[in-house]
Amino acid sequence: MNNEQQYIDIFEQHRELIEKPCATLLNEERRKAYSRFKEQGFPALNDEEYRHSDVSKQFAADYGMNLGRVENLTAPYESFTCDVPNLKAHQEFIINDSYLKGIDHKTALPQGVMVGSLNEIAKSNPQLIEPYYNSLAQDGDSIAQFNTTFVQDGIVIYVPKGVIVEDTIQFVTIQSTNIDIMSNRRILVILEERASLNMLVCDHTLSNHKTLSTQITEVFVGDGASMNLYDLEETSESNTRIAQLFVRQQGNSRFNHSNITLTNGFTYNRTQLSMQGEGAESDISGLVINDKHQHTDNRTLVEHKVPRCNSNELYKYILDEESVGVFAGKMLIQPDAQHTNSQQTNRNLCLTKCARMYAQPQLEIYADDVKCSHGSTVGQLDENALFYMQQRGIPIDEARHLLMFAFAGEVIDKIAIEGIRNRLHMLVEKRFRGELSRCNGCSLCHEREQKKTN
């Protein structure tokens, strides 16, 4: 089925409308991406990267697109409060696909740090954005081309040389509509030499309508720079999320990333990390908790291009009911990348007979003096451990929760920021107890905080 045709038609018909509000830079890349998308179409199921995720089908529905940039009237604080307790955060919002202006920030960012709308910074400061925008995603697959074709706005974070941003930048995306809608977002993060940044991306939906989002994140970590990027998805069952993260790491840089999927519908996350400077280190991890008919596909590609880099990868899945989990991780060690140290671990828990797990941990190695390993397991909770706890008077359900919580804990403990870590521990625990089939906008955290203060 040609699901791409309707989008080709939309683009052809509304080209002017799409391009009009956007910066020249975005439109230049858009034209190139459009011709690539037109040529490739959506990935089919016989595409190795999409074997278990029928992405094309997700695009078949008739979604609305806010091409005319209609102002969104949602006031984020009224419907949504996403302060993480104990976290000093600088918040930014994207409602559907528009950057929300005029947020009253409680704290000021260090001098020189720039955070704002992609479209506006591309207009006012094109020389800053140009070397970076779409430079990694242009070689991406047809979904990346689709995003570049339709994207109109997003967010840019720029941290100059040597600047350390103490506050976490929290970037909240909310899909809030009364129609079926598609949002195409873009995040661009540029860290110059020795800069440092913590970033939390929260993906939410506040709508029971069908929603689809494509999100391309491009991250450039300069020499000696350091970044923690945490991505938390708490959307709804009617949401489709297709997110691609491209990272370029320079020498001696550090990049930590955790991708947590708590509630969702259909999710396809791709992480592509390229280590281009000696001494770079990366740690990427993921936690997926799925039930009902949820579908989560995480794909990673860690490319070691130069010698003496370390990478570590840990992905864990807990699959309940009829959910589907897919993990495909590849480590690609290029011929020059001697003395690479690269580890990949994938652990999966299947809790019911109908849950399905597809795992593909892959190694592609062209250098001989390397230490690379991967391990993958699929199994159940340890009967002996359950029995041990029952013997000591812990009811079976409680014992299960404890074990599952410990299983998930390994990923959560990788998060370096205490506030986020604690909140995740709480969310995961609630998720297991079934109290939280969907995160209600962190108001729970607020209530708890308020109770404490009262």
């Binding site: 299947c350 399905r356 797990m357 593909q360 001989d368 391990g375 159940q380």
Partner: protein, 481 residues
């Protein structure tokens, strides 16, 4: 030390492929090219029944609709299927005279270490010798017959046991399975047929030796092994080919059927001509091997030592259909110079309480690329399935590649699946330790590699284990540069 290593490496690289000679045997080769007439001609030459010709033609029609698969981590130059001759018969000359075999043929197999006279043969091993498209001789046939075991060439089986062949042929590997399976089903020539009746434990090792001799031909053999209830057989397979500058195609199918409580051990030492040190020539080995553990408590064990072939594309698999059935896969794949290998296994768990073990050891040297690709699938009803996979890669030299592509598709919550892979090189420490104790570098590498591959080599029957060990050391000595 580096320089010395390089010298040793060169010495080994220059070492000629031992089995690369050509025998001067008059061979009846049909014209190259592939069309329906070719298939009819092959079928006619082999005096086949109508149903088999139909089977071939069906497969051929399907093959025409298929494209060469591109997914493997291999760089396969385009193959001109019309330039290959699909049937070569070295026996032709003698057929009119008697049953005697051309002395040149006998000599060839003797040179390969496979004496066809029973008094000279290794006791305890029956051999089916296949050259090009025809089975030359099968030894110990009579002795085996006494026990009710059928061990003969496929052509003979088609003539003498057509019902058995018809019942099982193509039931494990359908002609629609893949591109090369379709090609083989259309043009297959000879191979071995084994039937072990109920309750019989085969008293000797059965083995087939495949030899490509004629130029511009491909070998498309087909082997069918049926182990009826409560039976046991150990089957060995060896292969070599002459050194030629052009590439030769070998596309075989092996089907194994294992019934209740039966056990089959299938061992391969694959030593097709790998091409020279510049990557010229060599055999393209595109093989489909699969066993169907139909019965309860059935067991199938694949052991393979892959040292030859320019390109290997091979995934011996087990369909674990019967409850409590077991599948095993032990593999050592060695690539040197410009060789490429994409090999592994498929374990399809369908029955309850099924178990599978995968041990794969890859060794890459020179400029070769060596990939493990494996699938473990646990279906919805396969309760309590258990799998353990271990894939280790050893890299000798900085220009080669070692890759691992495992797939795990799990549809059942009671499955326990483990996969582990590591990649490393022979450490300087290990070499230094050996050197210190007066063991030369060359010998030390041999020791370390043999130790590394031991887990798999131990699974081979005695005679094969010795040959495999020899092969490994020949191909590897001094490869650390």
């Amino acid at each position: 030390m580096k320089k010395r290593n390089n010298n040793i490496f060169r010495k080994i690289a220059d070492k000629a492929y031992e089995y690369g000679f050509v025998s001067n045997i008059k061979t009846d080769i049909i014209e190259s090219g592939l069309n329906e007439d070719t298939i009819r001609l092959i079928s006619q030459k082999k005096n086949e029944p109508e149903w088999l010709l139909e089977f071939r033609l069906q497969a051929y029609k399907y093959w025409l609709t298929q494209k060469m698969p591109q997914w493997a981590h291999l760089d396969i130059p385009p193959i001109d299927y019309q330039a290959i001759s699909y049937y070569a018969d070295p026996l032709k000359k003698n057929k009119k005279q008697s049953n005697e075999i051309d002395p040149e043929l006998m000599k060839t197999f003797e040179k390969l270490g496979i004496p066809l006279e029973e008094r000279l043969a290794l006791s305890g091993t029956a051999v089916d010798a296949v050259m090009d498209s025809v089975s030359v001789k099968t030894t110990f046939k009579e002795e085996l017959k006494e026990k009710g075991i059928i061990f003969c060439s496929m052509s003979e089986a088609i003539q003498e046991y057509p019902d058995l062949v018809r019942k099982y042929l193509g039931t494990v590997v359908n002609y629609r399975d893949n591109f090369f399976a379709a090609l083989n089903s259309a043009v297959f020539s000879d191979g071995s047929f084994v039937y072990i009746p109920k309750g019989v434990r085969c008293p000797m090792e059965l083995s087939t030796y495949f030899r490509i001799n004629a130029a511009n031909t491909g070998q498309f053999e087909r082997t069918l092994i049926v182990a009826d209830d409560n039976s046991y057989v150990s089957y060995l397979e060896g292969c070599t080919a002459p050194m030629r500058d052009e590439n030769q195609l070998h596309a075989a199918i092996v089907e194994i059927i294992v019934c209740d409580n039966a056990e089959v051990k299938y061992s391969t030492v694959q030593n097709w001509y790998p091409g020279d040190s510049e990557g010229r020539g060599g055999v393209y080995n595109f093989v489909t091997k699969r066993g169907d553990c139909r019965g309860i408590n059935s067991k199938l064990s694949w052991t393979q030592v892959e040292t030859g072939s320019a390109i290997t594309w091979k995934y011996p698999g087990c369909i674990l259909r019967g409850d409590n059935s077991q599948g095993e896969f032990y593999s050592v794949a060695l690539t040197n110079n410009y060789q490429q290998a994409d090999t592994g296994t498929k374990m399809i768990h369908l029955g309850k309480n099924t178990r599978s073990t995968i041990i794969s050891k890859g060794i890459s040297a020179g400029k070769s690329q060596n990939s493990y690709r494996g699938l473990v699938r646990v279906s919805k009803n396969a309760d309590n399935a258990r799998n353990y996979s271990q894939c280790d890669s050893l890299l000798l030299g900085s220009k080669c590649g070692a890759h691992t592509f495992p797939y795990m598709d799990i549809h059942n919550d009671s499955a326990v699946i483990e996969h582990e892979a590591t990649t490393s090189k022979i450490s300087e420490d290990q070499l230094f330790y050996c050197n210190q104790r007066g063991i030369g570098t060359e010998e030390a590498i041999g020791l370390i590699v043999n130790g590394y591959a031991k887990e798999v080599l131990n699974k081979l029957p005695m005679e094969f284990a010795i040959e495999a060990q020899k092969l490994l050391s020949v191909s590897l000595e001094g490869s650390v540069g």
